[in-house]
Symmetry: C2
DNA sequence: TGACGAAGCTAACGGTGTTAGCCAATGTAG
DNA sequence: CTACATTGGCTAACACCGTTAGCTTCGTCA
């Protein structure tokens, strides 16, 4: 399933990601991607097996960028947990549509480069010290990010307090 | 926008909810809903303005059921926070597709019965004591539920530990 | 020169939400 | 009782979606 993508296929995946980030998930259509590339939709299938494969490619690129960001932020940080939260939140804010694509559905684990999932999870694992604490912390951060992205919270200062409350609780826990 | 639904419209909304719960979001199609009702898709539009309105109706029904469950669970409970978590998790497990529909997108606040959002949020508000703590707790619970629903966690006992860790952290916080 | 593969194209299929317009049944007013 | 309007079905169709089939055009290489 995970054939390494040809050069042209990687171009398509890059355009797909751009379209998603700039125009949102509704615009992520084969016809729109093709239009941006100056070709017709069916031609994409000479290079890519289908839309799903493009979404997987975007997901992989997202995880790689996220993992690198998490590592850079936490590496040698005085407060690794706070640093992780900052990096996680920054990634989700910078790439909200990609973040949703990465997290809304079950992970296509069979198509992911081996070790990528673990690599992405490792910085939080190290910052919290135990798998259970890592999962709880991840849930809090993921939940906060999603509730912010879906405009669930009133836009007041209370949300910032909630971040602090949650981080403090995790600190004391760790 | 929020005309009160006619009898037939409420029937349609009920069928729509059944289809969503039983067959998943991909099956939630105007043609499928019509098929279950024994009519053709365009006839639905004699009663309902469009698919969006049905999704809003399902969302409202979901919030009303959830709010009632939260109230029943926390009312007079020895440990209101734990009781709330149990009720929240139970609702999400019992109606995973409805839960996703309710939380994946921005709330259609203009079409919601006045006070419903606040009513749903109130039990957690009471259990945590402050808006900031309520938001943090909600984020944790929402994140845990979603990560479970999207099979993000390995299915081992650690997830149950993570629930306990998170609840304990919120307890101490409150 | 001739064969062949790569990479584009158009046409089309079955699916989606939705609109237009028709028609039969029903209920109501004169 | 008749005449009319409203209700609630219907079919046909549109624009969009992902995708497939099949054609063509071009560059490479024997």
């Amino acid at each position: 399933m995970a054939d390494p993508l040809s050069t042209r296929a990687r171009e398509i995946a890059t355009v797909a990601r751009d379209v998603l980030e700039r125009e949102g998930p509704d615009a992520l259509t084969m016809r729109r991607i093709a239009e941006v590339m100056g070709i017709r939709a069916p031609s994409l299938y000479k290079h890519v097996p289908g839309k799903d494969a493009l979404e997987v490619a975007i997901t992989i690129a997202g995880f790689e960028e996220a993992a690198a960001g998490f590592e850079a932020a936490t590496d040698g940080a005085a407060d690794p947990l706070a640093a992780f939260v900052g990096a996680y939140r920054a990634f989700a804010r910078r790439h909200p549509h990609v973040y949703r694509l990465m997290t809304d559905r079950p992970l296509p684990r069979a198509d992911l480069p081996p070790g990528l999932e673990e690599r992405t999870a490792a910085p939080l694992q190290r910052a919290t010290g135990s798998p259970a604490r890592a999962r709880a912390a991840w849930a809090f951060i993921h939940g906060m990010v999603l509730l912010e992205l879906t405009h669930r919270f009133p836009e007041d200062g209370v949300t910032e307090q909630a971040w602090q409350v949650g981080i403090a609780a995790m600190q004391r826990e760790a």
